[in-house]
């Protein structure tokens, strides 16, 4: 791995983050209407506290820095971001956006990382075996099932699972991250409770994802099996298992990781919606609530987090490639 390569990837990472966050800043300001004004109008319409609405709007505008010229806002926006300050929630004024996010992030991270890893490993294994000429018949029979599951978007599968296992048969809780009214602690009971709540959301991500992975992996496996080195490995008298793992699967790992990276985006957005379905206390659920409450600062903050998360994950992936395939640093030159 060359310094050159790392620097290039790092540059790409910065470009992605900066442009996405800039878009995040610019788009709302391009749109007609003033979010604070809108928000105030809404509050006035809903609650009875009719006072000096215009005065309040002015005050809020000042507080959120909306009275300054756009370029100044842009600079202070970046300054705040770099300090980790995402501002206040429009809805629950004294609460900071960053605290909303830090409260939700561990839930999402835990759920997503586990689910994605399980999906990836299961899918890859299934696909690799399916691509092998002597795949067991039983496994081939399962494929259509997973393909149909794959055709269902994550969160729709979540709805079905919710109905099946939390409404019809009440084996799993119908939502949330832990049982209402209990305090979270490091006890076996508490952990089991958390796992129970995470099971259905995770299952929907896994079930919907495995088929796609398996299909993709099968394709890669078949094209690798057409390579000359597989033929020679067989001629060398190697055992099937050795050829399968070290000559077949090893060589699909690069394209597989590439597509893992590419699909992360889908998984992340899909997972956001899964959280919404299960009212799972991660950032997806927070995003849904913020959208409903038109809490723009929280929406923006969560989107910044999503963008940075994805960009950083892809960057890490990029750093892993050369370890998987030694040719990569040469090829990309």
């Amino acid at each position: 791995m060359t310094v050159d390569y790392i620097v290039k990837r790092l540059g790409m990472l910065l470009v992605v983050i900066i442009s996405a966050i800039s878009i995040n800043f610019i788009i709302p300001r391009l749109m007609p209407g003033d979010p604070v004004q809108q928000k105030m109008d809404q509050m006035v319409a809903m609650g009875g506290t009719v006072g000096d609405v215009q005065g309040m709007v002015q005050e809020y505008r000042k507080k959120f820095g909306l009275d300054k010229p756009v370029w100044k806002q842009f600079i202070s926006y970046w300054g705040d971001l770099l300090r980790g300050d995402l501002g206040y929630s429009l809805n629950n004024y004294p609460q900071r956006v960053s605290s909303v996010i830090t409260g939700a992030l561990p839930w999402t991270a835990g759920l997503l990382i586990t689910a994605i890893l399980i999906t990836f490993v299961l899918g890859i294994l299934m696909g690799a075996v399916l691509g092998w000429p002597t795949a067991p018949r039983g496994l081939r029979g399962v494929v259509p099932v997973f393909l149909v599951l794959h055709a269902v978007p994550y969160f729709l599968l979540g709805i079905i699972l919710l109905f099946l296992f939390a409404v019809s048969v009440r084996v799993f809780p119908g939502g949330g991250g832990y049982s209402f009214g209990t305090a979270l602690q490091l006890s076996l009971g508490s952990i089991a409770d958390v796992l129970k709540h995470a099971a259905l959301p995770a299952l929907s991500i896994v079930l919907a994802g495995v088929g796609g992975w398996a299909l993709g992996m099968r394709g890669m496996m078949i094209s690798v099996l057409g390579e000359d080195y597989i033929n020679l490995a067989e001629a060398k008298g190697l055992k099937q298992r050795r050829i399968f793992l070290w000559y077949g699967v090893r060589n699909t790992m690069l394209p597989a990781t590439t597509s893992l990276a590419m699909s992360l985006g889908h998984v992340v957005t899909g997972a956001v919606l899964v959280e919404m379905i299960f009212a799972y206390p991660g950032i997806g659920h927070q995003l849904y609530r913020a959208i409903h409450a038109k809490d723009y600062t929280v929406i923006q903050g969560i989107i910044v987090v999503l963008v940075v998360w994805l960009a950083v994950t892809l960057f890490i992936m990029d750093l892993i490639y050369p370890l998987i395939d030694r040719r990569i640093t040469y090829r990309r030159r």
Binding site: V16, A20, I27, A151, I160, F163, M262, G265, I291
Partner: protein, 289 residues
């Protein structure tokens, strides 16, 4: 003449047999679209009006799929929703694909700086979770319409086709037959249109399918979040309202399951079609039995 016709028919049949996937995928999609459009013409549109019947009725002879909490006939709403969702998917897919083909061809053919700019922009946008941008845009739009929805979704449906077409153009550009065509006196534009484009068709078709399904997926996601066209019938909005009124936890399965079923059927159709197209584009995947 007759033999030529028979020959063609024979070849079409053989192709259909070889590519059952593509044919059955297309058949599924056409069937859904027909149900949507023909059904919309047949049913009584008033059945889908709020308060038309009693709310929350279970499926019965009168209401095959029951009624929802807003007292609408679920079947009527479902049928009226299909054309709108299909419309958003096709519109967004076509716009996305159009942009993708033009950019991909330009990047692949001109190379150099043009390629660098297009590739970087596509890579950057690809790395940004699309739904994030769409949420930002959608939350800032006062009244959402079906067409607006399609445009928003299309703005993020062009990267996949751009990348795929670019990669293919890059490899086609190096093909010897393009060189030969140059020696035959063909100019730059002719090389693209006459030599490269025909060989890109399977990729373009695959790109279209990919961007249509991406667009439908994104649409439904946005709608489920509550960012869809509130006053229109779409499959995603059906799911949104069902959730909004707690249909899932209340066990009103007849309300939320039909739109999911239709969406799944559409996606299966698209999946089959894209697998079929994949076989044409990468014949190596075709396993000889």
């Amino acid at each position: 003449m007759a033999t030529m016709y028979r020959d063609r028919a024979h070849r079409a049949l053989r192709f259909a047999r070889l590519n059952m996937l593509l044919v059955s995928g297309l058949a599924v999609i056409v069937a859904v679209v027909l149900v949507g459009y023909v059904g919309s013409a047949i049913i009584n549109q008033d059945d889908a009006r709020v308060g038309a019947f009693d709310p929350g009725l279970r499926p019965s002879r009168d209401h095959l799929l029951g009624t929802d909490r807003q007292a609408r006939d679920v079947l009527a709403v479902l049928i009226l929703s299909i054309p709108n969702t299909v419309k958003i998917g096709l519109l967004a897919g076509a716009v996305g694909l159009g942009i993708g083909v033009v950019l991909g061809l330009a990047a692949g053919y001109f190379g150099g700086l043009v390629d660098l700019v297009i590739r970087t922009v596509a890579d950057v946008v690809f790395t940004i979770p699309g739904i994030a941008i769409m949420i930002i845009v959608a939350t800032n739009i006062r009244t959402m319409s079906v067409e607006m929805m399609a445009l928003i979704v299309a703005s993020l449906a062009w990267m996949y086709p751009t990348r795929a077409i670019r990669a293919q153009t890059l490899s086609l550009r190096e093909r010897l037959y393009v060189e030969v065509a140059r020696l035959n006196g063909e100019s730059g534009m002719e090389l693209v249109v006459k030599q490269m484009l025909p060989n890109l068709l399977p990729y373009i078709a695959a790109g279209f399918v990919a961007s249509v399904s991406g667009a439908i997926l994104a649409t439904i996601g946005l709608e489920a979040l509550g960012l869809g066209p509130q006053g229109e019938f779409t499959l995603g909005m059906m799911i949104y309202w069902a959730r909004f009124y707690g249909a899932i936890l209340r066990g009103m399965w007849w309300w939320w399951s039909p739109p999911i079923a239709v969406i799944v059927v559409i996606f299966i159709g698209l999946l089959l079609a894209s697998a079929g197209l994949d076989r044409i584009a990468n014949p190596r995947l075709q396993r000889t039995k």
